[in-house]
């Protein structure tokens, strides 16, 4: 546990001392969402229909962008190798890194989400469902994404490859999340979809740290 907190503290401080970068994914998400009303027309009914899907796809894409930086810096300056050599448990350490990354680059997205909902004319019920799915779904995204990010950390051509690897894997999350928001818009309870996303999240918390730890070792070769 001490390893967990020391890595947590270190990454947290690093993120805030290099604060130029961590708002970029959020701004990217905001821009992608802004593009859609311009592309498909400003009719409030249409926007409300496609809104949840757009917000979720934008969140997926911006999380891909953000994830790319998860291990990059540490890999390049060699501190990832030092972390592998520490006697503490590597899965816990990976979990700490993912947690900080989520807090720093995805939490701002949740804070910004009312603005996105406003842009796309979502009702209050829809927004509430959207927020619930984002709270449960984005950590899942970061955890699964971390596996592929760790595997490709040593490659210089990470970006598009990461999308190719991760987007298919994210599909169930997208389906359940948008269907929860759709249920909310019809006034149907959406706890079922939330429960499934929550179950996937718990499953991921239990398993992915081990996969990420192994992937880090692979990238260190």
């Amino acid at each position: 546990m001490t390893v967990f907190w020391s890595v947590f503290r270190r990454d947290w401080l690093l993120a805030f001392r290099q604060n130029a970068e961590f708002l970029q994914p959020v701004l990217f998400c905001l821009l992608v969402v802004t593009m859609f009303p311009l592309g498909i027309g400003p009719s409030p009914a249409t926007l409300q229909k496609v809104g949840p899907g757009i917000i979720w796809v934008a969140a997926l894409l911006s999380s891909l962008l953000a994830l790319e930086k998860l291990f990059k810096q540490d890999f390049l300056d060699g501190s990832l190798e030092q972390l592998v050599l520490t006697p503490g448990s590597l899965p816990m350490l990976a979990l700490a890194k993912v947690l900080v990354h989520w807090l720093v680059s995805t939490l701002p997205l949740l804070i910004l989400s009312p603005v996105l909902a406003l842009f796309l004319n979502l009702t209050w019920d829809m927004y509430w469902a959207l927020l619930c799915t984002l709270v449960l779904g984005t950590p899942l995204m970061s955890l699964i994404g971390a596996i592929a990010v760790a595997l490709t950390a040593g490659l210089n051509k990470g970006g598009t490859l990461l999308g190719l690897l991760l987007l298919p894997v994210y599909i169930p999350l997208l389906i359940f999340a948008t269907s929860a928001v759709e249920s909310a818009s019809l006034g149907i309870p959406f706890t079922g979809q939330l429960a499934i996303i929550g179950a996937m999240l718990l499953f991921a918390i239990a398993l992915t740290p081990y996969a990420v730890a192994y992937a880090i070792k692979v990238s260190q070769n």
Binding site: A148, K157, L165, P172, A215, V218
Partner: protein, 250 residues
């Protein structure tokens, strides 16, 4: 009990095994496919509802079955490779992935051709079609990941991890899209106790399924041999083999 498996961790032995298996896969496959396809496409009775269009199943169903089977095979190889650190398994993944992607493409393409007269459209966002498409993306991801690394041992471990992630996800993807939207007809031949297909139609289908499986086996063997040779080019055994082949050819 498992002693007979151990030599195959050595690439040289696996190379020889693939060479021995290859004709056993290839020739029965050609025979089965010839009989099954001609029987299915020309002699099996037409469907009372779909007419002659139903004959696409003789290509479509084997392709779809193998697309999933080969992915499972890849994941099993990945698991064995990661647990027992056998690099022949990683090479096997690299050998199988393009074959699986091809089978997935065959299933999607023939499905689209069948969908045009039957559903009146090339493509619908139906559950099975979507999950098959996602399967194709998963295969392409594995192929791209393997290609991205210069160090192929690292690449092998990476694709093993990714194929395992994919295989955990596949059932979730399948059920999520199934729940999301469904138009595809239900299972026909897997209901063994009471199959809803006439035996005249069933036999050529079974022959073709077996034939496709053997073709996939033959291709995988050939590709694995190729992969082993490219990777082990610097090893003495590979060089002796290549030199002897060259003199033999002349």
């Amino acid at each position: 009990m498992w002693k007979w498996l151990h030599p195959y961790a050595k690439t040289e032995e696996t190379y020889a095994l693939c060479g021995r298996l290859y004709p056993w896969f290839l020739w029965p496959a050609i025979a089965l496919l010839a009989v099954g396809t001609v029987w299915g496409l020309a002699f099996a009775p037409a469907d009372y509802q779909q007419g002659d269009s139903f004959r696409i199943i003789y290509i479509h169903v084997p392709g779809a079955m193998l697309s999933m089977g080969l992915y499972a095979g890849m994941a099993i190889l990945g698991f064995i490779g990661l647990v027992w650190q056998i690099r022949t398994c990683y090479m096997g993944i690299a050998a199988i992935a393009p074959v699986g992607a091809m089978m997935t493409f065959i299933a999607l393409f023939t499905g689209a051709v069948w969908g045009k007269p039957m559903w009146g459209t090339w493509w619908v966002w139906d559950a099975r079609l979507t999950s098959e498409l996602i399967l194709l993306f998963l295969y392409l991801g594995v192929i791209a990941l393997y290609g991205a690394f210069d160090d192929k041992i690292q690449a092998g471990k990476a694709v093993a991890v990714m194929s395992l992630v994919g295989v955990i996800n596949l059932p979730i993807i399948h059920y999520s899209v199934y729940w999301w939207n469904t138009l595809h007809q239900g299972a026909t031949i897997s209901k063994f106790d009471n199959p809803s297909i006439s035996s005249d139609m069933l036999w050529p289908l079974l022959l073709n399924i077996l034939g496709f499986g053997l073709v996939a086996g033959a291709l995988a063997c050939r590709r694995l041999q190729n992969e082993i040779l490219t990777r082990e080019m610097r090893r003495p055994w590979a060089q002796t083999l290549l030199l002897s082949n060259e003199t033999g050819a002349k």
